[in-house]
């Protein structure tokens, strides 16, 4: 019998608790109907759309910041989904946005090749366990420069960039018989003072 296993990293809140949210919306990008190049080309528009629409639902003085942060969070997470998503399945990317009174939750889920999960877990723990995100940014830039000199392309900056905007991250990894589903959750606080 197939073994199912779910791993949570960080403070993950299940999106299935949707009825507790004030507003929610879902964007599904279907792999069967959009090839990867078009998907990649569309990611900025999708992220910008999310930022534009959802910023309208927060207090007006926060609108500009939320638009920018939401755009940035969505673009990084959708990019990761396109890069690391598995094209063999039907829906490869699902983006859920849920508005609670004091925070905006962004869920991006994609089916993934199980071989990529260990690297994701390492990156997630590195982000969550760091005391100083700017030091980690500096370290990753130095590593990227060294990699470039060796002809390799290395980044891992997407998650760091999200956290640098005072957004927290969590992950849920569901390992099933046929596929692994990775859901990344970004929590954007609404209650705090604007930076």
């Amino acid at each position: 019998m197939a073994e199912y296993k779910t791993i949570m990293i960080g403070d993950f809140v299940d999106s299935k608790e949707g009825e507790r949210f004030d507003l929610s919306s879902t964007l599904r990008l279907r792999a069967r109907s959009i090839d990867q190049k078009r998907l990649w080309a569309s990611k900025d528009r999708s992220a910008e759309f999310m930022g534009d629409i959802w910023s309208l639902f927060v207090d007006s003085e926060k609108e500009e910041r939320i638009r920018t942060v939401l755009h940035s969070v969505c673009v990084e997470l959708i990019e990761n989904s396109v890069k690391y998503g598995c094209q063999d399945y039907d829906y490869i990317i699902t983006t859920d946005l849920c508005l609670k009174r004091d925070e905006l939750l962004v869920y991006v889920a994609n089916k993934s090749d199980p071989s990529q999960i260990p690297a994701l877990e390492t990156a997630a723990h590195l982000i969550l366990n760091t005391d100083n995100i700017r030091t980690l940014f500096k370290q990753k830039m130095k590593e990227a420069k060294a990699a470039k000199k060796q002809g390799r392309n290395m980044s891992q900056l997407g998650y760091i960039r999200i956290v640098m905007q005072n957004v927290s991250l969590a992950w849920q990894i569901e390992m099933g018989a046929e596929a692994t589903v990775v859901t990344t959750l970004a929590k954007i606080p609404l209650a705090e003072k604007d930076a």
């Binding site: 910041r65 940014f137 420069k145």
Partner: protein, 91 residues
């Protein structure tokens, strides 16, 4: 796909080579009209231009920024963590 920044990387490499060959002392990057940049773009600027400029002896780099764009206000100042010889000017 991620290689979309290769052209810009090549351009930055040309700039650094010419700055170095001509013994120029100042390099200005004007980002004031750039409304948004993702992490791959930020990495490209940091790794292929800012950190490379730091390796050119006698060269000081200046980045012109706009207060109108949140991403610039929140992100560009962190570039000073990467090199010492960097002026960041907001307007």
């Amino acid at each position: 796909m991620p290689e979309e920044y290769e052209e810009i990387e090549d351009f930055f490499e040309t700039v650094i080579n010419e700055v170095s060959e001509e013994n120029l002392t100042e390099l200005i990057l004007d980002l004031r009209a750039l409304t948004f940049l993702n992490s791959s773009g930020i990495k490209t600027i940091c790794v292929s231009l800012v950190m490379e400029a730091d390796d050119v002896e006698g060269l000081r780099m200046k980045i012109l920024c706009s207060n109108s764009f949140t991403w610039q206000v929140e992100t560009i100042p962190t570039f000073k963590d990467l090199i010492d010889n960097l002026d960041i000017v907001f307007e």
